[in-house]
């Protein structure tokens, strides 16, 4: 096999493997990214960069943005900026001057999202921690009381917060602000603010148990549903249209970022074992928590412990000709496989097991956007989608760069697709970076493809 690899390695795939390896390498080396405040300062102190930035701002601010952007001046400005640290900058959640950082980020990215505005990528640095990290912290913090009563995990979560002075204070603050007795008179904005403070200041080993406690009975599930004092922070007298709620959210850099963070980190994949494109449950749960205190927040919709009905407080009625689009977006929240799996996994205390199994036929590169691609026009460049594969057939792929390169067959067996722990493999978006294990699996893939070929 080694011989085959060196002698008959198809160039396109070699190129592909190398690209992804480089990407993963540089990605991990460059994290944490420069934050946008720093990057902005760097750019301002550089004459070329700052003048291009000014130009680009003008290009983006104009009413005929698309016309302007196609002008040579705007194109040049964009090209220069795309090379700068400013274009790659990210923000950290809860960082000092987070709003300022996000304003810089969206100042550049808001106008430049190709395709669907709903699927904006997160302005936040990728989360690297795992569920095990959250649990480890939890056990340190709560000492011997960790596994006290398994009966009502949500009650235990309340206890852990109550016996911690800071958590108790912060929880009491939002509860007393949000719970005014008369729900029609509740100060929603103040309630949201104190909820956000609670979520942002408390470590996830205290907030996650309150938000995602596993439940076997109704009292527990009702308590979980009540965590955010939904009567004030979630429910409203009227049910607004979802598209309007999301559009309003996008006016506010903070809300927009939290929404984009959820869309990015909880993006479902029917191919990945975890159910998540990003394969990181903590990131998804954190993104869910990050929307709390904004109108786009999700909550449990009933107190049925089994159903796990989750959604935002809005509906698609009144969407007019956008109704099917609205329904499609809404499903990203209400029927989100990644989020559900993440909550179940949190309850079980089981993280994704990255099992590099014995070589067997495997399935391959599905772009993170593939699922949407079927329904929505997406005129993104192909740079992050090297090829698409219909997952249940053997597909023939031709090298993109070189027509004379050999054809490669990539095979997927159906049993593989249904297997729970099938390793997930894909060429991710440039920005998200590819974890090393994936890169190494890519070489396995290449090897396997070659075995099928020769």
């Amino acid at each position: 096999m080694k011989m085959l690899l060196t002698n008959h390695f198809p160039y396109s795939l070699l190129f592909l493997a190398q690209t992804s390896l480089t990407l993963s390498g540089s990605a991990s080396a460059s994290w944490p990214h420069t934050d946008c405040i720093q990057a902005n300062e760097q750019c301002i102190s550089d004459q070329i960069c700052s003048s291009r930035l000014r130009t680009l701002r003008q290009c983006l601010a104009g009413r005929d943005r698309d016309v302007l952007l196609s002008s040579q001046e705007c194109k040049t400005a964009l090209e220069v900026l795309q090379e700068s640290a400013l274009y790659m900058c990210r923000c950290r959640r809860g960082m000092k001057k987070e709003l300022q950082c996000l304003q810089v980020y969206w100042g550049i990215h808001a106008g430049l999202t190709d395709g669907d505005e709903f699927y904006e990528s997160s302005p936040y640095e990728p989360v690297t921690s795992r569920l095990s990290d959250v649990f480890r912290l939890a056990s340190i913090n709560s000492g011997t009381e960790a596994a006290n009563s398994k009966q009502n995990a949500c009650l235990d979560a309340a206890k852990f917060c109550n016996v911690n002075d800071v958590c108790k204070k912060s929880r009491s603050t939002f509860i007393s602000v949000c719970n005014t007795g008369d729900d029609a008179l509740c100060a929603r904005r103040k309630c949201h603010r104190s909820l956000r403070t609670f979520i942002e200041r408390m470590p996830s080993n205290l907030t996650f148990p309150l938000l995602f406690c596993p439940c076997a009975d109704k009292p527990c599930a009702e308590r979980r549903r009540q965590t955010i004092v939904p009567s004030c922070s979630f429910n409203r007298p009227e049910v607004p249209n979802c598209l309007e709620v999301w559009a309003t959210c996008r006016q506010d850099p903070m809300c927009r970022s939290r929404l984009a963070d959820f869309i990015t980190n909880c993006q479902s994949s029917s191919q990945s074992a975890s159910g998540c494109v990003r394969d990181n449950y903590v990131a998804c749960l954190g993104a869910y928590a990050g929307m709390i205190g904004y109108d786009v927040a999700l909550n449990f919709l009933d107190s049925d412990p089994q159903s796990l009905a989750i959604g935002p407080w809005c509906s698609c009625s009144g969407s007019g000709d956008q109704e099917s689009k609205c329904e499609l977006y809404l499903k990203e929240f209400t029927q989100n496989r990644c989020l559900r799996n993440a909550i179940y996994a949190y309850g079980n205390g089981t993280d994704i097991v990255h099992k590099q199994s014995v070589p067997r036929p495997l399935f391959t590169t599905i772009s993170p956007r593939t699922e949407k691609r079927h329904v929505l026009p997406d005129n993104q460049s192909d740079s992050n989608t090297l090829y698409e594969v219909n997952p249940d057939i053997c597909d023939t792929i031709q090298g993109k760069k070189n027509d004379s390169s050999p054809h490669i067959r990539i095979c997927v067996s159906e049993s593989q697709l249904n297997a729970d722990l099938t390793p997930d493999l894909r060429i991710d978006e440039k920005r998200s970076g590819i974890p090393r294990h994936r890169a190494s699996m890519l070489s396995t893939l290449v090897a396997l493809c070659l075995t099928t070929l020769f």
Partner: protein, 107 residues
Amino acid sequence: ARMKRARARKQPCTIKELEVRVSELGLGYVSDETVLFRYCSGTCEAAVRNYDLSLQSIRGKKKIKREKVRAKPCCRPLAYDDDISFLDTKNHYHTIKEVSAKDCGCV
């Protein structure tokens, strides 16, 4: 055991804490939530002032009769802890003030 108890009672005024159910607070709330209850406990012998001695003496001479007076300093909260909020069994939230001690002293 008696010696131990006696010694324990001689402990100077200090703050102690206990995990209790909200229902056990006896304030009429029904909730299984556990909260941290901090209370003041201990003696105040070191805090006896001339005031206390004088009062005792004057009371002993029956100069003060049908009045309630306290001729000993008392271990009491000097400040109360932050509010405590909890969800009751009927899924209503409540916030209670000044339930738990924050700082104790002999007054």
